[in-house]
Amino acid sequence: MAQETTYYKPEDLKKFGNIGEFEPDLAKKFFDYYGAVFADGALSAKEKSLIALAVAHVVQCPYCIDAYTTDSVEKGVTEEQIWEAIHVGAAIRGGASLVHSVQALNKVKELGI
C-alpha cells in the first residue's frame, strides 16, 4: 500500500459536518453562525463565496479552496471573477508583508545609514 504523503485528503471535506461528534453544542453554534454568515444579506451569497475563496487562498486551506471554487462556479461566477478574487487575496497578503518594510525603513534611518 502506498504511503500517505499528506494529511490533507479531499474526501475528508465531506466529514466537516461530523466535527460535532464529541462537542455537538459548540459545533451547532458554529454551523448556525456559519450558515448565517453565508446567507444573502447586504452582500449576496455569491459575493460572499468569492470573498471566502480569496480568504481560502490567503489562509491556504485546501478544503476551503475546493469548497469555494465549486460553490462560486455553482453560483455562476466567471473564471475572470475567480482569478481576480484570488489576486485580491494575494495582493493583501503581499501588501501585508511589504507594508512592514516601513519599519525596516524607519530602522535604517534610525541607524543613520
Binding site: K14, S44, A45, K46, T70, V73, E74, K75, G76, T78
Partner: protein, 347 residues
C-alpha cells in the same frame, strides 16, 4: 464529435448506463432513489395528471453537445413520422392536456415539424419548442423559423449554458455561442423576450462541468445583465437544470473521474420538496416511435412506462394518470438542491 452510437461506445446502451449507475451506487453505499422517496413519503411516485405532452420528434441534430442526454447528433436517423404525430395530436386534444412541448434532437429538422406545429396550433393549446438556436442559422430552409414561431405564438426555450463564449463552446461546440447570440438577436427583433411582448423566449442554463446549478434567480440576473450589456440580447426567464448522469454526460463524468463525486453530491443534495414537484408527475414523454415514458430521461434509458398502455396511439388520460412512475438512480438529478425540471428549479 460523433454520437456514442456512431462511435460504437458501450455507453450507447441504456442497459450499460443503468448498470454503471447501479454499480457505482452500490460501491458508494448510496440509498436507492426509491428508498429515498419512501423516507419522504412519496413512494410510489404517481402523476398529478398529464398536463404536458412532451414529444421527442427525433434524435437528428445539427449539434453534438458534450452533455447531451439524448446522444443526438447529425449521425442519428431516428425521426418521428407523420402518423405518430397525428396520434400525438389526438392525445393533445384531450381535455386537461394543456401543453405540447416539442423536443429532439433539433426538432426543426424533422420534415413534418412545421405541419405538426400548425396542427397543434389549431387545437389552441400552448406550444413550446426546445430550440438549440443555431438551427435557425443552419441554412435557407430554417431561416424563417423565427417568423413561423411568432405566427403560431410558440414559446421558444433555448439552451445557453453560459453567458460567455468559452464555456458555451466547450459544451456545445466551437462557434455555437456566437451563432446563438445572432439567433437570439433575430428572435428579439420579432418581439421574442421583449418586455410586454406576448412572444416568450426562455433560456436554459445547465452547468458546463460536473457541478450543480446554483440559485436560479441569481443566475437569471447575471445572464440578463451580461447578455443585455454585452450583446444587447433579452429574454424572459432562465431555467436552471442539473445535468443528468446518463448518456454523453455520463461519458464525460467517467472520463474526468468525477462520476462518484457527482452521484454523491446529487444524493447529499436530495430535497424532498423538489421531489414532490418533479416534472414526470405532470408530463408524459413520447418517443420518436410513439412509445411512452415518464420523462425524456427515462426515454433515453429505454424505461417505458408501466401498465397496459405502451404507445401514444393507446392514449387514455385516466389510465395514465394512475400509473406508477419508474425510478432509478439518475432521478436524483431532478431532486438535488432546488430541483431540476424542463421548467427549471422546482423548490
Amino acid at each position: 464529435m460523433r454520437s456514442l452510437l456512431a462511435r460504437g461506445s458501450e455507453l450507447a446502451s441504456s442497459k450499460e448506463q443503468l448498470k454503471i449507475l447501479t454499480e457505482v451506487s452500490g460501491k458508494l453505499d448510496l440509498p436507492s432513489f426509491s428508498d429515498k422517496l419512501k423516507e419522504a413519503a412519496l413512494y410510489p411516485l404517481r402523476p398529478t395528471g398529464v398536463d404536458i405532452l412532451q414529444v421527442n420528434v427525433g434524435k437528428l441534430c445539427n449539434q453534438t453537445c458534450k452533455h447531451c442526454h439524448v446522444d443526438a447528433g447529425p449521425d442519428r436517423r431516428e425521426i418521428m413520422n407523420r402518423e405518430t404525430m397525428e396520434e400525438c395530436l389526438v392525445a393533445l386534444a384531450t381535455p386537461g392536456v394543456n401543453t405540447l412541448d416539442i423536443t429532439g434532437g433539433a426538432p426543426e429538422m424533422n420534415p413534418n415539424f412545421r405541419w405538426f406545429v400548425e396542427e397543434a396550433s389549431k387545437l389552441g393549446k400552448k406550444i413550446m419548442i426546445r430550440c438549440n438556436l443555431t438551427i435557425l442559422l443552419a441554412g435557407e430552409k430554417y431561416r424563417d423559423l423565427p417568423e413561423f414561431f411568432a405566427e403560431h405564438k410558440v414559446e421558444v426555450v433555448s439552451s445557453l449554458p453560459y453567458f460567455q463564449k468559452r464555456r458555451t463552446d466547450a459544451q456545445r461546440g466551437e462557434g455555437v455561442f456566437d451563432r446563438s447570440i445572432e439567433a437570439l438577436r433575430k428572435l428579439n427583433s420579432l418581439g421574442y423576450g421583449i418586455p410586454d411582448s406576448d412572444l416568450v423566449l426562455n433560456l436554459v442554463y445547465n452547468p458546463v462541468g460536473s457541478f450543480l446549478a446554483g440559485g436560479q434567480s441569481t443566475l437569471e440576473n447575471d445572464f440578463k445583465k451580461e447578455l443585455k450589456q454585452v450583446y444587447d440580447v433579452q429574454f424572459n426567464s432562465l431555467f436552471a437544470l442539473s445535468n443528468m448522469p446518463i448518456s454523453r454526460f455520463l461519458e464525460s463524468l467517467l472520463e474526468s473521474g468525477n462520476l462518484e463525486a457527482y452521484l454523491e453530491k446529487l444524493v447529499t443534495a436530495f430535497n424532498p420538496v423538489a421531489a414532490a414537484g418533479v416534472m414526470c408527475r405532470n408530463t408524459l414523454s413520447v418517443g420518436w416511435d410513439g412509445s411512452l415514458y415518464d420523462c425524456d430521461f427515462n426515454q433515453m434509458l429505454d424505461m417505458k412506462i408501466e401498465g397496459k398502455i405502451s404507445k401514444i396511439s393507446e392514449f387514455n388520460k385516466s389510465v395514465l394518470d394512475s400509473r406508477e412512475i419508474l425510478l432509478h438512480q439518475h432521478c436524483y438529478g431532478c431532486t438535488a438542491g432546488a430541483g431540476s425540471s424542463c421548467g427549471g428549479s422546482i423548490a
